[in-house]
Symmetry: C2
Amino acid sequence: MTTDGGREKPGDVVIGVDIGGTNSVVGFVNEAGTLLLHGRFPTMAHRSAGEFVPRLSEVIGELKQELPAGSRVRAIVIASPAANARNGTVDNPANFKWGRVDLVGMMKKTFDVPISIMNDSDAALLGETRYGVAQGLTNVLLITLGTGLGAGIMMDGRLVQGAHGAAGEFGHMTIIPGGRQCACGRRGCVESYVSASGICRTTFELLEQSREESSLRDLSFETLTAEKVHQCAVKGDPIAKAALEETGKSLGMMLANIVAAFDPEAIVLCGGLVNAGELLIAPARKAFESNVLERYRSTVSILVSRLNNGQAAILGASCQVLDTLYDNSYIKETQP
Amino acid sequence: MTTDGGREKPGDVVIGVDIGGTNSVVGFVNEAGTLLLHGRFPTMAHRSAGEFVPRLSEVIGELKQELPAGSRVRAIVIASPAANARNGTVDNPANFKWGRVDLVGMMKKTFDVPISIMNDSDAALLGETRYGVAQGLTNVLLITLGTGLGAGIMMDGRLVQGAHGAAGEFGHMTIIPGGRQCACGRRGCVESYVSASGICRTTFELLEQSREESSLRDLSFETLTAEKVHQCAVKGDPIAKAALEETGKSLGMMLANIVAAFDPEAIVLCGGLVNAGELLIAPARKAFESNVLERYRSTVSILVSRLNNGQAAILGASCQVLDTLYDNSYIKETQP
């Protein structure tokens, strides 16, 4: 990522927005691809989109005050779950109480610039291949491990979005036939094992199966969170550690399956769950190695994102807009 | 497929070859994409490639005699399992005793024309989208159900081959964790359930589980074939019918998983097993419907190839070469 390329033309910026299940992030990116300013606010996904938009507009307005005089906002690009790039809508994102909303239309009432929307995982994938751990790679899968399990797919340098923009639903591939009931209504989906709620369910399964002491025995199903499991695991709680290990194992099995489908050179893991670090990632790598078809064993790297939460998506979304606004080679040349 | 476009310029042909596990097919295709001549011979995959090449060359030579005088062979393109298009080799195809061979190099000793090689499933997919049941579609998966389970992937009109040409190994995605041992050494792979040998294994499982009478009880594991199971099923044998139904069920479950990964508009099923028709396909569709994520239920068509065995691959491989030899719009314009 460049750190000063934009100062020459401080006037031109693209605003990137990453809408997350918990927090949303706004970033102002200059034409060199530098993140100049950013702000964060709670999404409050349990409320309506009609309440969200004014709060987002307010944060954008506040950040705008900090831009040097003469600055010009060229475009706004929003990275959102369940984004429909074709018609500018957000279509029933899981874990949101939004339903289907014309987010671009709503934003246009306040902002008189081109506004576009794209899938958050696709945006993060572009960010990772341009500025992150997958820099320069062209066959990459990105897995977002958070409330749910999202994914982005790049093959031959192009995003693969499927016939209706719905490719990459790896969370709803079946991993255990007849297994846990998933939020989608089916059984045995990857997401019901490998996600924040999946970790909690595995914790409860282990509390039931084992007789080992654990501070997690004091928590109800409703109060348990993946973060608490992680905190307890760090302190050495055996059930918490085992829950992360089991989750990693399921993750590794899923990765082996999608590698057989896509033959990528790398998989980037990101999202809240990767904060658990090696407690989750080490068993995932181990399960991947022992489950993957021999021919792929040495050809694919499992990478963990090092960009801050939301930053990959903001940079990725912005660079796609910048590529169309300016000559994309310009950005590439200014890379350090 | 055009049927007469080529007569105007009878002199220019491309030779397409489809190497199958049992039989290989050679076809002469004119520049309008019409299959003018074709011949078939047993592959004898249990013998070496050094023995195969002279037999292939002989069939090509014989067909060449039938071309009108003044004809000119412009190129040879070979569709093969485990093809490595980049260096012209065939790399250890499963169920072949070939090892890794420089097939293009071997053919060049006899034929002084450009020779190329491509994955057989990719070739069949191109054939199906140009001339077959998926004509005009651009987001399509093709599944070849034969000795093994092969696949081709087209997204946004382009073949997706992965970082090392090894995408589409759907047969080696895990469907039953800890399940049947697969030829690849792992357990629970789709291919150990959904393939010719998978049908035979399921038949034996059912013979063991049930007490129902069946003519299949007279056959040993070594003498049982998928074709015999099909023949018995047609005659109403309950075990044979159940074996095809179970196989279809596993196929449908796999289709639900790969649809979640790729979001295609269609899946084309081809290969020897689809000869079982609705005995296999109806349960596959049913299992697909009940396993697929709601959002895909009405967006994807499961189609069965209607092109003869090998024809799709020969036409697909040839049309890719024709597209580079001639203006590809020419071929499109001559379509009926």
